[in-house]
Each structure stands twice: as C-alpha cells, then as structure tokens.
Amino acid sequence: MRHGGVFAALLLILACVGTSSVCIGESSIDCGTVLAIIRNAVLGGEPFWSPAEETIVLLIRVPRVLLAGLVGAGLAASGAALQSLFRNPMADPFILGISNGSALGAAAVLLSGVSFGLGLFDLPLAAFVCGTLTVLLVYELARVGSRVSTHTLLLSGIAVSAFMSACTSFLLFTSSEDLHQVIFWMMGGLAGRTWAHVYMVLPFISAGVFIFVAFARPLNALMFGEESAHYLGVQADQLKKVLLVVSSVVTGAAVAVSGIIGFVGLIIPHIARLLVGPDHRVLLPLSVCAGAIFLIAADTVARTVIAPAELPIGVITALCGAPFFIYLLRWRGSEA
C-alpha cells in the first residue's frame, strides 16, 4: 500500500501522544506509576500507589484522552468527507449548522430547566437531537423534488445557522439565568468528561468512521462533481444522503460531549491531504489518526498550561492549528 510509511508514523505518534497525555497532568504522578496503574487495571496486580492516583489515571485521564481522540477523529473524518461532498475546501463539520443547532438545543435545555431525567446527559442529548434536526431542516429546505444541489445546501446551511445563532443569542440575552455553562459549551472543551461520555459517543463515532471509509471510493468519484460520479456508476444522490446523515451523527455526537471545537474538522483533512493527496481511501484513515493526535495534544495543553484552571480547547486548536497549517501550505508551495 502506498503511504504505508506515513501511516505507520502517525500510528506511532498517536500511541506516543496518547500515552504521554495520560502521564501528563496537574498532579505529578510519574510515568512508571501511570503505566503500572493501567497495566494493573487490565492484568491485575498489587497496587503501590494511592487510590487518588488510581482515580486520577483510570477515571479522569484515560477516559479524557480516549474521548479527545474519538472527538478529534470524528470531527476530522466528517470534515474530510464534507469538504469532498461540497467540493469546497472551506467546508467543515459545522457547515450545515450543526453547531448552532446544538448550541440552541443546549441553551434551551439549560434555560428552560426541562429534564429528560438523564442528569448529566440531558445536555448532550438535547444538543445531539437539535444538531441533527438542524441538518435535517437544512436538507429539507435545500431539497427540490428528489434532488439536492450542494450549492443550495451550503446556502441554506448558512441561513439556518445564522437563524439558530440569533435564537441562541436571544435566549442568552433575555435570560436572567446563569449562562456560564452555555458559554463554556459553545467554546468547547473536555473538562470533567468521564467514561460514560466515552461509551456514549464510541458507537456513533466508530460506526461513522467505518462508513466513511467504506464510501471512500465513491467519495473520490464525487470530487469531480455529481455528474462525473454518476458516469462512474456512483449514485450521487444516495451517497450524498448517506454522507450527510453519517457526518451529522458523528459531528452531533462529538459536539454533544465536547461542545463546539473549531478548526479540527477544517484543517486536519487539509494537512492529511497535503501529506498523502486527496485519495479518500488513504485520506480518511489518515485524517482519523491525525485528528485524534491533534485533539489529544490540544486537550493536554488545555488542561495543563494554566493548571489548575482549564483553557478552552478551541483556543489551543486555533492557536496551534492555524500556524502549522500555514507552514504546511508554504512548505508545499515552495516544493512545487
């Protein structure tokens, strides 16, 4: 397989970043102990550490690293798929208004005090449902007969997004309640995420990524337009629907547990494309790896740089992502 080297390198980096992220944290627990705790959890053994250390590693850091990886992978894969679907390099997972839709859902639930009786999971559920409903609305608005033009889809996405965002602002503005949760949620972050969140998004994101990869070849064909894809025997309409549904679900799941984390879905696919070219059979798995690496690293920085306080992760993703992206662009540019 071509690009096998890049793949191996990225997997290695992913392993390293993941491991070191578990070892790094506010409370200093040395790497050996951390690894022993993890080994112990799997294989059993005699603990020589405090219960607090075990809690920190097993219940706080490990799920958080896994969740960062999942969210990063999901957002990057969705971004890659949507950029090709819309044949627009500026597309990202939030292009169809899923972020503003879920933000409205989150704000509405918080401000109205409605409960689904799920405690911690009321908000993720509301965000997920509203986000996917928004995409559905955008799709219905753009649909003429059985066909949906990507241009109309983009435009109706922008319009609905703006509308949702206005609704959220209105709610936030007129409400007399405490809003830090909504605001934090809109900035995105993984603070306080637990195993329950991991279990919650794992099926959605892993199934979604699997489906993306399964549709890699048709996606390649779609990059030259729906007509061109049709001539290669790809049913563009059907493919579009599948991709929209899958990317909405994946993004919705990611947003539900982490809020709106920008930049990952936009630049990771570009970086991956610069590394291995636009073939989705390589690009998608690579984006998944790179997205996971990037978000794990960003989250590690977010929780350690001004510890014990947490930085919003979106700040890190933009601060690190943008210059790196520009560097890659220029590096590639000078090579050509």
């Binding site: 506010e26 005090g113 911690l120 503005f173 603070a191 306080g192 510890a307 014990p308 947490e310």
Partner: protein, 297 residues
Amino acid sequence: MRSLLITGTLLVMISAAGCIQAGESSLKTSTMTDDTGAVVEVPVKVERIVSLAPSETEVVCVLGQGDRLVGRTDYCNFPAEVRDIPSVGGPKTLSIEAIVGLRPDLVLATTITDTTIVEGLRAVGVPVLVFRLESLDDVYANIACVGDILGCSDTAELVVSGMRLREESVRANTCHASPVRVMYVLWDDPLIVAGNNTLQNDLITAAGGINIAADAEGYVIISDETVVSGQPDVIIVSETHAAGTVPIKERLLEKPTLSDIPAVKTGRIYTIDGDLANRPGPRMIETLEMFASCMHA
C-alpha cells in the same frame, strides 16, 4: 434677514443651554477615585441613587438610606421592600435611558457591572462609582465609602465594626482547629470554582480553611483531576434557584471520578443560597459564619 433670525434663535438657545449647565455645575461636588481608578465628581448632597448591583442595594439599605434609592436591578431582591423600587433591567439588559430617566445624583456599581453601561452613563454626565469587592475588607471599605457619601458615616462605622466583631469571633473559634481543605463550587459541568482573589477564597481562609483551587485566579474552570489531587474535606455549593433541574450537589455526588474524595465519602457537601454566598454585601458576614459552621461541623 432670515439667516439673521436663525442666528439669533441659535444664540438664544445656546445661551439658554449654557445657563442650565452653569446651574448644574454650581452644585457642589467632591472628587473621588473609585476602585477602577476612575476619577468621579460625586455631588456633596446625594438624594437620588440608582444601584446597579444587589450588594450596593443592600449597603444603601443597611445604612437606612433605602428611601434615597430610585432605581435597582432585577437581581436586587433584598431587603424585601426594595422590590417596590423601579428596576432598570437585568445584568445584560441594563438600559442607560431608564437609568438616566430616573435622574440619579449617583449610580453605584461593581466591577461585575457591564463596563459599556458605566462608560455610557459617565459620557452623559451621570457620576458612577465602581467598587471592586473581592474580600471582606473590600466590603467594609465599600460600606464606609457609601456611608461617607450619604452623610451617615456614623451608621456605616457602626455596621462595619459589628461585622468586624463577628469576623473576629469566627477567626477566634476556628484558628486552633486543623486546617480544612475546601472547594467552593459555582457550577458542576464544567466545574467552576472560586480561586484566588475571590470573596469566597477570603471567606474560606478567614474561616480557617484552605481553598484547594487557590492556585488559580478568580472564578475558573478546573478539571476533576485538580479536585482529586486536592482532596477537599468539604465542598460548599452555591445553588441559585436558576437553571438546572437536578441540584448541583446531587450531580456532584453522581460523578464517579469524585467518589473517592473525602468530602463525598463523608457526605460533607453543603449548599448555600447563591444570593447570599455570592453577594459581597453586608450579609457577607452571615455567609462567613455559615462557611465556618460547614467547615467545622
């Protein structure tokens, strides 16, 4: 001829305006510098006050000058009689027009108040005093200052010395106890707690405790890891009647990551009304006593 008429009219209008200004500025003022460093001309005789913070409303009332209050915010709910005073909006919906319409001699605000409102009021000539309230001493100074302005410094002194007495008694009762590790929680998801340079940090310290989030500045989001490694013995939660369907305390108890910390294991999670605990007014001292009783129960 016509232009002459217009010029004449304008002249009359300008001189009239000048007269009004001259009339106002003839009122005596004294120059003060507020906690943000702004220089404010405060009238010597203040009859109409608008308060833009619940704590300031309480301060004015505790000095017995509640009848001079002509405006308050939606959040000013104590003492009960202030509810009859017209409100000028919530924290994000304050209306400069409504405030100016009340013709205040002085507007009282805190650093929490939207600065655009403060600047807007100053731009139209309304004096605004902004107080920074991050410790008990700040609160005492605030009461004394307002007392000076309202010409009731004696009452203010009385109030402050009463408060100091209660503070001393709390300190005296708790200084010999072993230090208690405390976390003050405003919200659970994300976990927002009081760090250094907050009123609650000051209260925790005064009541003989150690704030586990004292390394962070202000009100901050911290990770569960900080909590676990901080091992708080006591968690104090401020509950506003606001959002959320399940009380914050319940949700904290649900968190698997926190199940091993002393406060959770011993069930020492206490809930205090947010209106009391987060309001740097005269009732702060009651909060301090509550903190002390929670921490040394």
